[in-house]
């Protein structure tokens, strides 16, 4: 075997392995998007397999042992068919990505179906041209030397692929901007932002480039992107709480580790708010755990809205305790947030017809330099919470009138 073909096949095999790892991982997650993602993965795997087969066949064609007449004998119909199928997958994958992302973003557009049909016309035309090219030779044809040559409409194929790539990329950007909070969750470091944008762009650039220059860089590109997206997916599943969809404890420790690196001035303007449901055990015991879950979910929705409007970090610390971290604030602001949460929980209780008393205790603590480790900080907030809770249990209104109690360690 020719050594350059050997390396090409090796490259494709690595890509197929990575695709299979991503595929198996995706199959186990059981998300709603499973079918769509799986279809894209299958297409990409088919593309790889076609690449290997055409490599192998063109290696056979270019061998010294075959004369010109032999080339014509050795399945040249099959060869052209496989080659045009390979070109077709190059068109198909950007179209599939465009199709899936379009269904996501176009919920609000009235004439959604009609537009989709209109935008699909070039795809249908080009797929007809590509698939029929073994007979007609519009896109590709095989010379007597066993070489594949571009046909008349080849530039159309490249153009259409580019067209769908641009559309797909625009849709992906739309999805990013519509899910800003989740996006912010993932990209805390600026390098992540660069990575995620390049992962979103790469497959769209690669497909036309692959068609233009006939270099096999498209499968490695897909492999890199998909693996990166899989790591993000795994990360989200590990560090996001599944009941309330807030950050969980793992994330809190990571966030606090980051905070430890700040300088003195920034640290002292950072506040941690501790939020705890009063008598949650009582609700759980008397009304069942399901009711308790409902309470937690409602509360987390409320807190999420609050955190967004005040631009805070929010996480579920455990059971019925939530932690909010506000940077660049002063005491007044922290008190305001505490009051705001109290008020909105009171409103929530008034609105709901639940038979139980729903209220929360809140307290805040400043991130001074006396806290040497994140553990100290959490412990301090913990102690503070019990203090406030004791006050709250005695007389709830007392807590609202006065500023939250600050503890001394």
């Amino acid at each position: 075997m020719n050594s350059s073909y050997y390396y090409a096949v090796e490259l494709d095999l690595v890509c197929i392995c990575v695709f299979f790892v991503v595929l198996i991982n995706l199959w186990r997650t059981g998300t709603k998007l499973r079918i769509q993602m799986l279809s894209i993965l299958t297409m990409v795997i088919i593309q790889c397999v076609l690449d290997i087969v055409t490599c192998y066949m063109s290696d056979m064609h270019s061998g010294d042992t075959l004369t010109l007449q032999d080339v014509c004998k050795v399945n040249h119909d099959l060869f052209t068919l496989l080659y045009s199928l390979k070109s077709f997958t190059n068109l198909l994958v950007p179209y599939a990505i465009f199709y899936i992302t379009y269904n996501f973003t176009a919920d609000k557009i009235a004439s959604k179906e009609a537009k989709l049909v209109l935008l699909s016309i070039p795809f249908v035309a080009l797929s007809y041209l590509t698939l029929s090219s073994p007979i007609s030779g519009h896109i590709l044809f095989l010379t007597f030397h066993g070489e594949i040559v571009h046909g008349r409409f080849y530039s159309l194929l490249v153009g259409t692929t580019g067209f769908y790539s641009v559309l797909g990329f625009v849709n992906v950007l739309k999805i990013f901007s519509s899910k800003k909070d989740l996006f912010r969750n993932i990209t805390r470091a600026p390098i992540d932002e660069i990575c995620i944008y390049s992962a979103a762009t790469l497959p769209f650039i690669l497909a036309p480039v692959n068609l233009l220059f006939n270099v096999s860089i498209v499968s490695p590109g897909y492999a890199i992107c998909l693996l990166y997206l899989m790591t993000i997916n795994l990360y989200m599943r590990i560090s996001i709480d599944d009941l309330t969809a807030l950050n969980n404890r793992n994330e809190l420790t990571a966030y606090l580790d980051n905070l430890m690196n700040l300088n003195e001035k920034e640290r002292s303007s950072t506040f941690m708010l501790f939020i705890d449901v009063n008598k949650f055990k009582h609700i759980n015991d008397n009304f069942g755990h399901n009711e308790g879950d409902v309470v937690l979910m409602q509360l987390s929705r409320l807190l999420k809205a609050t955190a967004e409007s005040f631009n805070c970090f929010l996480c579920r610390y455990g059971g019925d305790e939530f932690i909010m971290i506000k940077q660049h604030a002063n005491e007044e602001k922290a008190v305001n947030i505490c009051k705001f949460i109290d008020d909105s929980v009171t409103r929530l209780r008034d609105l709901s017809l639940a038979p139980y008393e729903l209220s929360v205790s809140t307290g805040y603590v400043r991130f001074d330099k006396r806290f040497r480790s994140p553990r100290d900080f959490i412990d301090a907030a913990d102690k503070l919470m019990y203090e406030t809770k004791r006050n709250a249990k005695k007389n709830y209104t007392h807590f609202n009138k006065k500023a939250p109690v600050k503890i001394s360690i």
């Binding site: 790591t231 795994l234 793992n250």
Partner: protein, 401 residues
């Protein structure tokens, strides 16, 4: 064209390893040091091999000798790191955390380093032929011996894990890591025999697979206690619910709850609460060793056991055993105060019951037990308070006098 493909493969592998390494660092887990080491060494190896490809042999002969020396040293070091990464994955912390084990297992590397450093002069380990490709040297077999030693070292804990552990997922993990390491070692021998880059390719794929496997396990286990979490419990329960009535009548669902967990947390701090939860998990694991059980933590202080028994007496025996273990462990862990647990259980063979309803039944049984206990305790408390009141009254009387 060949050069282009070679560099492209190196770039692809480099990026894949880099992505995994970045994700691994981001999740901040302490117990994957060796795995990160593997990633670092692999990245180094990839860069080294690209250098070997790019630098022409004819003009830079000495550079090639040095690069090949480093290449062999790194190859053996990466196998050493893989050994510890596999051990970490199998959670054999007694080996991975002792420095003596690290040193003893690291000793066979020293001759490899010495021999490959001597190779340019004596051709001990390898020599470069006219085209700059390495050929086997005099003591080449030593490399085989080291690899075989590592394989045997790994085989022992893997077999032990495989036989001892009833959990099919753990068995799968053991099998996984062993197969991967075997593949890596075989590919090393093949690569050294015929010049190609199968070794780095297999390494990269192994890194990706091990990373996903590790994170999958992390998703379905509870971080604090190491038991299965709610997700896995739901899956397992629904899979068990699908079996026939005769099978189901042999399966029991047990619900365990720590009494006044909130009070422990409030009075003694969250750390003490965590210790209490771990105590429950440990005693559950001890029970699991003697019976065929599925253990899970499904909420703050709620634990669940799904167990298979032939007779009902066995189930009752298991419950007694559990209570004994819990009592023992709690007595050791807590000196200042006592904790107690409530247990409720149900047979899985309840006609027309969904998974949620079954949980509710077990929950109810548990609450009944809890209430009984509370009533008993309150009686005692009343007695105590009466006694206290009497003492106080006596004291008051004394003061009045």
């Amino acid at each position: 064209m060949t050069l282009f493909f070679k560099i492209e493969i190196a770039f692809l592998l480099f990026t894949l390893v880099f992505i995994v390494l970045r994700a691994q660092i981001k999740t901040k887990t302490a117990s994957v040091k060796s795995f990160s080491a593997v990633c670092f060494v692999l990245i180094f190896l990839l860069v080294l091999r690209t250098c070997i490809v790019l630098i022409p042999y004819a003009t830079y002969v000495n550079t090639h000798w040095v690069l090949h020396c480093i290449n062999y040293i790194m190859t053996i070091i990466i196998i050493y790191c893989w050994l510890f990464a596999a051990l970490e994955r199998l959670e054999v912390f007694s080996l991975t955390e002792s420095s003596t084990a690290r040193i003893v297992l690291g000793l066979p590397i020293v001759p490899v380093i010495v021999m490959s450093a001597m190779s340019p002069f004596n051709n001990y380990l390898f020599k470069l032929n006219l085209f700059g490709a390495p050929v086997q040297g005099q003591f080449w077999f030593y490399l085989y011996a080291v690899v075989a030693l590592y394989m045997i070292t790994l085989l022992v804990p893997t077999t032990y894990r495989f036989i001892k552990n009833a959990n099919p997922d753990d068995q799968k993990t053991a099998l996984y890591s062993y197969t991967l390491t075997t593949l890596i070692c075989c590919s090393l021998l093949y690569t050294c025999y015929r010049q190609n880059n199968i070794f780095v390719i297999i390494n990269t794929i192994a890194v990706v697979i091990l990373y996903t496997n590790f994170n999958e396990a992390k998703i379905s286990t509870d971080a604090l206690t190491g038991l299965n979490n709610r997700n896995r419990f739901r899956k397992y329960l629904s899979s068990v619910m699908g079996s026939s009535a005769t099978v189901k009548s042999n399966i029991y669902l047990t619900y365990i709850d720590v009494d006044d967990f909130k009070a422990i947390n409030d009075q003694h701090g969250h750390l003490m609460g965590d210790v209490a939860l771990r105590t429950v998990a440990e005693s559950m694991r001890d029970v699991g060793k003697e019976h065929h059980c599925f253990l899970a933590r499904i909420g703050g202080d709620e634990f669940v056991i799904i167990s298979h028994h032939q007779r009902e007496e066995d189930h009752l025996k298991m419950l007694h055993l559990l209570e004994d273990y819990l009592g023992e462990k709690a007595a050791i862990a807590f000196e200042n105060f006592s904790i107690s647990f409530s247990v409720g259980s149900t047979n899985l063979n309840v006609p027309n019951a969904s998974a949620n309803e079954l949980l509710k039944i077990a929950d109810k049984n548990m609450y009944r037990n809890k209430m009984l206990k509370k009533a008993r305790r309150e009686k005692e408390k009343l007695k105590n308070t009466k006694m206290n009141d009497e003492i106080k009254q006596k004291r008051n009387d004394k003061e009045a006098q």
